[in-house]
Amino acid sequence: MSEAPALYLSGSASFEDTPVFTGLDLKVAAGRWTCLLGSSGVGKSTILKLFAGLADQVDFTGQLGAEGMDLDGSVALMAQDDLLMPWLTALENVLLGARLRGDKPDTARALDVLERVGLSEKSGQKPAELSGGQRQRVALARTLMEDRPIVLLDEPFSALDAKTRAQMQDLACELLAGRTVLLVTHDPAEAARLGHQIVLMTENTTQDIPPPQSDAPRSATDPDVLRTQGDMLALLCADTPIE
């Protein structure tokens, strides 16, 4: 993996003439976890799509990219849906990228990656035979297998139960260390546990929230984490009047 770069995005985006965000200025620190927190519909996912090169229907004016690196081929993506191919085994899903590029599949490394996410026993099983948490671990293994310096996470833990979510957060935090991670989430607790940098995005503005002092992944019971989480929830609620 090459050195993880910083990311930048400044500009405005619209979808079918409806503005998604205007005058946004976002900087994502190199080799750190940046959590982009906001309620649904403020354009968080659009930002991820822009970095991933998947925003075909979004009209973007401005600048975006990675410092000293082409985004193309430097990005890995993990979404809320595990996006596993149901007809492939866990191992084959981890090797999907190689198959799709026509590279020689590195089975030994794929097995190693599956072991790191704790699924070496399940390598031959299909997604339907795995639990939601296990499927998301396979998706994490597939993301690691891609070995890209930039990792975009689109609410990857939001469909999991509380315990599995906390375990997945710890695991992802450990395994993706050193990469530039941009995590989109609507969960203040997740942002407070994981972010080295936290950006709160509302309808009109973005603001940087100072993260808790301790190292991520932080304990959910850390008073500092709880306070940050509470502050962010208050800011989110203040922004969205109840209709």
């Binding site: 998947l54 890995a76 979404a79 996006l83 191919m85 007809w87 799709l100 590029r101 026509g102």
Partner: protein
């Protein structure tokens, strides 16, 4: 009641109604023969019927195979290329507006009285359902899978091969199930228009000679063959194509 019991009961009920219609209506055997007479004829003419059934079966199987292959390839071609879609889809729809019955004499003229005019007929009749159901499934590939593949740096050919085709196989299977029922219709129409062998030919011949019992016997064999073909195709589809989606 289990499904085989229900099937048996339903068959017996059908036979009973048939027999009752013959008895109550006092119908002569050249209008509607009784089930017993048809069974007797079926047994007596078994060699003749089997001989003709073999011909029809080969027409149907070759037609089904070629139709499945051609339909499958066409669907992939259409799904892969917007240009092909723009050019070919209107033609496909137009082809469905032409009654297939009307094509049979032309196919016999072009391909002769033998196997190939019937194969062509079966192929034409199943081509559209196979192509269209597979194509629709290919166009419905999960957009997020395609996005993931793009981020991974996939080539369109490999996306087609590793993602779009495997995910669309259940759609292909539903086309094949329809085709298994339609293909015999095509072959029989072909035989009616011009043939020297086959169950359709035998039915026409028996009808002309007022051997309605033989006609019914051939009809029953045709129906049973079609059911068997459908069951075999269904089994194949469930084992091979209908993977969890």
């Amino acid at each position: 009641m289990k499904s085989w019991q229900a099937g048996l009961a339903s068959t017996l009920l059908g036979l009973a109604i048939w027999k009752a219609v013959v008895v109550i209506g006092d119908l002569p055997k050249f209008i509607l023969p009784s089930p017993g007479l048809v069974a007797e004829t079926l047994w007596k003419s078994r060699a003749l019927i089997a001989d003709n059934a073999l011909v029809t079966s080969s027409e149907v199987l070759v037609g089904l195979f070629l139709g499945a292959v051609l339909g499958g390839l066409s669907a992939i071609g259409l799904a892969a290329s917007p240009m092909a879609r723009a050019l070919v889809r209107p033609m496909l729809v137009f082809s469905q507006a032409v009654p297939v019955f009307a094509l049979a004499p032309i196919l016999t003229l072009w391909l002769g009285y033998g196997l190939w005019s019937k194969v062509a007929m079966a192929l034409i009749i199943i081509y559209f359902p196979v192509t269209s159901s597979f194509f629709d499934a290919l166009m419905r590939t999960n957009k997020d899978w395609l996005g993931l593949a793009r981020v991974m740096g996939a080539t369109p050919f490999r996306v087609m091969w590793h993602i779009r085709i495997p995910s669309a196989l259940p759609g292909f299977a539903s086309g094949l199930r329809l085709a298994a029922v339609y293909a015999p219709i095509g072959a029989i129409i072909g035989e009616w228009v011009g043939a020297s062998k086959g169950l359709g030919y035998l039915m026409l011949l028996a009808n002309g000679r007022a051997k309605i019992d033989l006609m019914f016997a051939a009809l029953i064999v045709l129906a049973v063959l079609t059911l068997c073909l459908h069951a075999a195709v269904d089994l194949f589809c469930r084992r091979v194509l209908d993977r969890p989606s």
